[in-house]
């Protein structure tokens, strides 16, 4: 069979067109719940329950107003931010030196411990934590929340940084050591600057996982320190499903992580794929 050259080119062009249609269709399917959430958040309860669904309507901001005025969503957002940022910073502060030391001692068995931390069901921490923080009178405090969320971020940060520190050329560190730098100075002046991109990746991922965490906050948070995921869950039961209100709340909860992803996509991808390449 002889294919005419222009016919082949036409077929290739058709192929890449179909491929493009497929790409767009897939992205639409995966974005649909997010788009639908946005749409619902601008609708009234009547519009949300309309059947067939209304696509064209005059958007209302009432749901968002209710979230901030009738419910203390600003406070919940601040709680979420304090806990996620606090646990990420603390994770970096204790995790980076730990990772540096582990990389120095070349302890491969650390990998297994970090895997163990991932395997352990989070619920098994809850009862002992409750007892610890109850004894310390810290139940419902930011300190307790930050410490519990640290168990999410610390393994991620340590794991990613061990790999990064191992990749720092040892000549540089040796030179610093010979020049009389101590371990801490070498760590601060050589290792840290060279691993900044990995540190950013690890921090972003630790922040997102802490922001999204529900289970730990559900048990440890108090009424004043409730982060968003717990707050939105109670929103559901209070309101007897006010669809628009729920969608507005969900949008508020999940928008920050999506914006971070859109802005820092490079760091997120390298962070998540590091697990595949290094593991």
């Amino acid at each position: 069979m002889v294919t005419h050259p222009s016919g082949r080119r036409l077929r290739a062009r058709l192929g890449s067109f179909l491929q493009y249609v497929l790409v767009i269709a897939i992205v639409l399917v995966f974005s649909f719940p997010i788009l639908w959430m946005l749409l619902m958040s601008f609708k009234t309860q009547v519009q949300n329950l309309a059947f067939p669904p209304v696509i064209i309507f005059t958007p209302t901001l009432e749901n968002y107003q209710n979230a901030f005025v009738q419910n203390p969503f600003l406070k919940f957002s601040i709680n979420s931010f304090v806990v996620a940022a606090g646990s990420t910073l603390l994770g970096l502060l204790v995790g980076a030196p730990m990772a540096y030391a582990v990389a120095h001692f070349k302890r491969q068995d650390m990998a297994f411990f970090i895997l163990l931390a991932r395997i352990l069901p989070g619920i098994s921490y809850l009862v002992p934590w409750f007892i610890i923080f109850n004894t310390l009178q810290l139940i419902g405090s930011y300190v307790a929340l930050i410490l519990t969320h640290l168990t999410v971020g610390l393994p991620i940060i340590t794991w990613m940084l061990i790999g990064a520190f191992e990749d720092v050329p040892s000549e540089l560190e040796d030179a610093a050591l010979i020049d009389g730098c101590g371990v801490f100075a070498t760590f601060r002046m050589i290792a840290l600057p060279l691993t900044t991109p990995v540190m950013i990746s690890a921090s972003i991922i630790a922040f997102i996982f802490s922001w999204n965490n529900f289970l730990f906050s559900l048990i440890i948070a108090g009424p004043d320190t409730q982060p968003l995921p717990v707050a939105i869950f109670q929103f559901l039961s209070y309101m007897n499903i006010n669809w628009g209100g729920l969608a507005a709340a969900a949008t508020l909860v999940t928008t920050p992580t999506m914006i971070i992803t859109l802005v820092a996509q490079r760091y997120i991808v390298s962070g998540f794929s590091l697990g595949a390449v290094k593991g």
């Binding site: 067939p52 204790v94 030196p97 730990m98 030391a101 069901p121 002992p128 040892s170 697990g275 390449v277």
Partner: protein, 332 residues
């Protein structure tokens, strides 16, 4: 331990590696080539190692307080009958909780099977779909970066929040999915509301959220594949189908297995989406081990029994992970 004879200058790499391959043991450090040149080297190295150990202390303390102690406590309390609903202190019952769980607790057995079922569908489809997505998004097309980024969004959304949105989307009477099905003249789904469909529906939410993660990990693998085997295959006239099955897939295997490992561990532990949508219902139709442990601990306050569930649950995840790690290392 092997050492090179002292050279004119200390071989730093050698020094680093001998020390590293040993432990913090001082005797290893004492005979390092460094000591041939610096009289104080032993003390220097010792101080240095002490600094490294000091750097680990804060993290180790946190790990002991927040992770090691809770785990040991859970294992210990699983050997007790302890109800937080009464003032009675924990009673030592040895392995009675485990006996009851393994031999007479039908609810535990169903929860176990549900956990396996949910994990199998979710992880299986995520792996296939994620790999397919990676192959598609590895190809060249306009705006690839943007499309890829948009595809990542489900992964970073808050699971509880999105689960509640799914609850509305999948609502049998007013949800948009059933409206779409009706418009197309297809039979309507019962989704999260019926025993038969609840687990596949939960799996679908998990697949929506986490297939992109598998995609990222496989994409990382694709970008690291060498080009020579593909050129050789092209020269030998292999069809795209043959190239995929005989070259691409085998070379991607380590990346896919790691993605499966991560997804498997997290799918077994799925909690947020179930708790936010069905709370284990209807009835106990979507009660997985994690949910059962949670209910036992925080609704019935049977802390000893819940701890025993968690220990068995942990053993299950560990066993599955170890099998998979072995699969990754060994040739097929």
């Amino acid at each position: 331990m092997e050492f090179k004879p002292p050279a004119m200058l200390p071989d730093l790499n050698d020094w680093m590696s001998t020390k590293a391959s040993g432990t913090m043991n001082q005797s290893v450090v004492k005979v390092s080539p460094f000591s041939q040149f610096f009289r104080n080297s032993t003390r220097m190295v010792r101080t240095r190692n002490a600094s490294f150990v000091a750097m680990m202390i804060p993290a180790v303390l946190i790990i002991i307080l927040m992770m090691v102690f809770p785990v040991l406590f859970t294992a210990y309390i699983s050997l007790h009958d302890w109800s937080a609903a009464t003032v009675k202190s924990p009673q030592w019952v040895a392995f009675a909780n485990y006996e009851q769980l393994l031999f007479s607790d039908a609810r535990f057995h169903s929860a176990f099977l549900r956990t396996i079922y949910l994990t199998a569908i979710a992880t299986g489809l995520e792996t296939i779909l994620g790999t397919a997505l990676a192959l598609l998004f590895h190809r060249e097309f306009v705006g690839r970066g943007l499309w890829r980024t948009l595809l990542l969004l489900p992964m970073v959304t808050t699971p509880v929040a999105m689960s509640l949105i799914w609850l509305l989307i999948l609502d049998p009477s007013a949800g948009v999915v059933n409206w779409g099905l009706r418009a197309l003249g297809l039979p309507l789904g019962t989704w999260l509301n019926k025993t038969a469909t609840v687990l596949p529906s939960l799996a679908m939410i998990d697949i929506w959220q986490w297939s992109p993660l598998v995609m990222i990990m496989v994409l990382a693998g694709l970008s690291m594949l060498p080009t020579e085997p593909f050129e050789a295959a092209a020269i030998d006239g292999a069809t795209p189908w043959q190239t995929f099955w005989k070259i691409t897939l085998p070379m991607l295997r380590p990346y896919i297995v790691i993605a499966v490992l991560f997804r498997l561990i997290d799918s077994l532990k799925t909690f947020d989406i179930i708790f936010a949508t069905t709370q284990g219902g209807p009835g106990t139709a979507s009660e997985t081990l994690n949910l059962y442990a949670y209910t036992t601990a925080f609704t019935y306050f049977r802390l000893g029994y819940a701890s025993a569930i968690l220990v068995l649950f942990f053993a299950l995840i560990l066993a599955v992970s170890l099998v998979l790690i072995r699969l990754r290392r060994e040739p097929w």
